[in-house]
């Protein structure tokens, strides 16, 4: 067993991990472990923008951003953390620009901004351009820029190292166990502080915008180690995924004036969100689309709608809405403008659909997109492990794996990139500060054993079940039964099936018994993670007998603040999933009805 020692270990090299590494490495000896080459991380797939109230195009204020985020969260977000994030946002975006991020620019040379769902002028209620963007590849630019800065600052990386366990000693994080993919060797990384930035678990669902690598590894590891997960019932379905493939079509399309239509050619969002229409919050639009499809108004009776960004459509509806340019003139676009602002979207449509979005509408359906729940943390990125928010020493989390909670029951578009910047940075700073006064916890003698057992069993299992077959069953039943609309009956059925799949997982056999790049073994282990999390998601969703944000129940269609204005905490034991709750932090905004 190869041993390494660093003061800070960062797990994951997406936006949150790289931010944490940049800040931690300023004063602490730091290494980053990533299952992928850093630039392959899923942050790179983010398209539309990062939210910050710069006010470059129209009047805007961090206070408005704060309120919009609270409302978007369906009042389940912790308001102290949301205010912190939205206030820090402005500086975070300037800092990215200083690092070299090539933002698109306004005619005055400032960072360009576009409208996004749920972001409003709090006085008029109209959409406000708050998403700072670099064409439709903002996440790509963030990931590249942060990695470039890591190179400049000589941050140390262990690429293609899969972290498989968290080492805990005396109740504190003491390191990680990792599998080096190229050699099949296990390594121990002894550390004073560990930062998990391992991303979400959107691969649980059949139609998903998430990368293959998005298998919830970090959260599955910590649940096995007795650390709770928060608000697991809340998962976001993005309204506009490419039909059947789930590939994301950014909300920026609607920010630029794109409109959703049903089979009758009706702009149906007018009925569901009369004020902001196609720029309502994602949960609201996904549900509206599902309702339309259920009532037979999907295109040709199928399970998709049209997203139309043809210039003639954009211009017609912009005129009807009275949308103006900042100089007061009528909002009008040309095909060239659309293409220059949404080049990647045009490319995706041509490659995967054979559709040119300048002349044809795009077939879209809701797609699994974002994990609102996750490792409970405070606003400094410290992991907190009980209803009293007790900090676990030396353990930090940031980005999609974490639940601060700034997104509550539903995340606003552009706030994921913001979340990973702000909390990645603070987790890194906090960890670096912590290690100054801390000593290394002793490594338990059996530190690698738990992970080794899991892999050993998978390698030598004669059971004959194929991981890929189990994975297919899980994804389809989770999409149908624990998806956009949920019922007790459906979820109970799902839970029975998920538990059967977990049983069958004990009999999974891998074909590959080698050591070098055994991706067969890795995929099987990842499936185990997804199955564990699918069960937790379902138990939490079944337990919450209300509808709030991304958690919509046909049998409990209303939000219930009397009984459910609280976060769920879930612990996994050998035999069951144990639940408890903690209060939502309210500061300035009392819950009220959420209409768009």
């Amino acid at each position: 067993m190869i041993k390494h020692q660093y003061e800070v270990i960062v797990v994951g090299a997406g936006g949150a991990g790289l931010m944490a590494a940049l800040y931690a490495s300023r004063t602490a000896q730091t290494a980053v472990l990533s299952k992928l080459y850093p630039t392959r991380s899923h942050t790179g797939a983010a398209q539309g923008g990062v939210g910050a109230a710069l006010g470059n195009v129209e009047e805007d204020h961090p206070e408005w951003h704060t309120f919009d985020t609270v409302k978007g969260s369906d009042y389940l977000g912790d308001q102290d953390a949301i205010e912190f994030m939205c206030t820090e946002a402005v500086q975070a975006v300037y800092e990215l620009e200083h690092m070299g991020l090539p933002f698109s620019r306004t005619p005055e040379g400032r960072i360009a901004q576009r409208p996004f769902g749920g972001h409003t002028n709090n006085v008029t209620g109209k959409p406000v351009p708050r998403a700072c963007y670099a064409a439709d590849r903002t996440g790509h630019m963030i990931l590249q820029t942060l990695y470039q800065q890591c190179i400049k600052n000589h941050v140390e990386f262990f690429d293609e190292f899969q972290v498989v366990d968290l080492i805990i000693s005396n109740g504190a994080a003491a390191g990680v166990v990792a599998l080096q993919l190229s050699s099949g060797e296990f390594h121990i990384f002894h550390a004073k502080a560990v930062i998990f930035a391992t991303g979400g678990h959107g691969r649980i669902w059949e139609i998903t915008s998430n990368a293959y690598a998005y298998t919830g590894d970090g959260l599955a590891i910590t649940l096995r180690r007795g650390i709770p997960a928060e608000d697991m019932e809340f998962f976001q379905f993005h309204p506009t995924g490419i039909y059947k493939l789930g590939i994301l079509i950014t909300e920026g399309v609607r920010g630029e004036g794109g409109i959703l239509f049903n089979d009758t050619g009706e702009r149906f969002m007018e009925r569901y969100a009369p004020h902001v229409k196609d720029l309502a919050s994602r949960d609201v639009i996904s549900r509206a689309m599902y309702t339309e499809m259920k009532e037979g108004r999907g295109i040709g009776g199928q399970r998709y709608m049209y997203l139309d960004v043809r210039p003639e459509t954009v211009n017609k509806y912009a005129a009807l809405d009275g949308r103006k340019r900042p100089d007061g003139s009528q909002y009008q676009v040309t095909a060239d403008e659309i293409l220059s602002k949404l080049p990647d979207i045009a490319d995706f449509c041509r490659v995967y659909l054979g559709v040119d979005p300048i002349t044809q509408p795009m077939p879209v359906q809701p797609t699994a997109h974002y994990t609102m729940g996750g490792l409970p943390t405070n606003k400094f990125g410290e992991v907190v492990i009980d209803p009293q928010n007790t900090v676990m020493p030396g353990f930090y989390a940031a980005g999609e794996v974490a639940c601060v909670s700034v997104h509550g029951a539903n995340r606003l578009g552009t706030n994921s990139l913001l979340d990973l910047l702000v909390f990645g940075k603070h987790a890194g700073l906090r960890a670096a500060e912590f290690v100054k006064g801390a000593s290394f916890q002793p490594l338990p003698a059996d530190a690698p054993d738990f992970a080794l057992q899991q892999f050993d069993r998978l390698l030598h299992n004669p059971g004959g079940e194929r991981a890929a077959a189990l994975s297919r069953e899980m994804k389809s039943l989770m999409f149908d039964l624990v998806g956009i609309f949920r019922t007790a009956e459906g979820m109970e059925q799902a839970l029975v099936k998920i538990r059967q799949l977990r049983q069958r997982f004990q009999n999974v056999t891998v074909d590959d018994n080698g050591k070098v790049f055994n991706t067969d073994l890795l995929n099987a282990w990842e499936l185990g993670n997804l199955l564990d999390l699918a069960e937790v998601v379902t138990v939490c969703a079944l337990n919450r007998t209300e509808s709030r944000g991304g958690h919509a129940r046909d049998d409990f269609p209303k939000r219930d603040d009397v009984n459910w204005l609280k976060h769920t905490l879930a612990w996994k034991t050998d035999s069951e999933i144990k639940l408890d709750y903690k209060p939502v932090i309210l500061t300035k905004f009392m819950p009220k009805e959420r209409v768009y």
């Binding site: 797939a45 064409a135 077959a469 790049f517």
Partner: protein
């Protein structure tokens, strides 16, 4: 329809030399080559090894040679290939580790060698540095690079000598050389004026054809050559 997928195989723990395996499978014209590889791995032969992640052409993991040309496996559809027999092989010019997985370290070493990061020693303003849309447009094309290595491993000059920094690294340098906010163009141009720098490019255009992001790579390399020759960045 039924597809025949012929795949380059090499397992360093078992094989002395590489060989090919052919798999038969059902596929739709709209399936990605990656979907076919996943299908084979999931249901026929789990030992088949390749990298992948985003599956829609933005992460750069699954660059490989498909019917003799570099593509991202997730960005080429069966219908694009217009064939029922598909041959999949690892990228050329990088050491094969296993099956379709190559050693990317030399590629990233070249990338790191060209100072691929913004250098600006001035104290930044409180807000953003200003940059006009025209200045921003100047280097837009080369910001699209996802470091998949399709270009570098399609380049005969790189095949001939792996010390050549390669098109991807020059693209990375170009992205900063022509950024109005950057102050290290001179140093990058000096690096690329080396014997294994930009003049190894003989304008064969393989890189441009191979780029899944449609970056005009040969043109970018030409602009860097011109900047070295003239000492001007216009």
């Amino acid at each position: 329809m039924q597809i025949s997928l012929k795949v380059f195989r090499f397992n360093p723990e078992k094989d002395k030399r590489p060989h090919y395996d052919t798999f038969k499978l059902e596929a739709q014209p709209t399936d990605r080559v990656l979907d076919m590889l996943e299908d084979v791995k999931g249901f026929q032969d789990g030992t088949l090894s390749f990298r992948r992640s985003c599956a829609h052409g933005v992460c750069g993991s699954d660059a490989m040679r498909i019917n003799g040309r570099n593509y991202l496996a997730c960005k080429v559809l069966l219908r694009d290939l217009g064939a029922k027999k598909i041959t999949v092989e690892p990228l050329m010019g990088l050491r094969v580790i296993k099956d379709l997985i190559v050693d990317m370290e030399p590629f990233f070493t070249h990338y790191r060698s060209v100072m691929p990061y913004l250098v600006n020693e001035d104290t930044p303003p409180a807000g953003e540095r200003l940059q006009s849309p025209e200045e921003r447009e100047r280097f837009d094309d080369t910001t699209k690079c996802i470091l998949c290595a399709c270009c570098t491993t399609a380049c005969p000059s790189f095949w001939a000598n792996e010390q050549y920094v390669g098109p991807a690294a020059i693209v990375a340098a170009h992205r900063f050389i022509f950024d109005s906010r950057d102050q290290a163009a001179g140093e990058r141009l000096r690096i690329l004026n080396d014997q294994f720098g930009v003049y190894r490019c003989h304008t064969i255009f393989n890189c441009t054809v191979a780029c899944p992001r449609e970056i005009e790579i040969t043109r970018a390399i030409g602009e860097v050559k011109q900047a070295i020759a003239t000492g001007r960045l216009d």
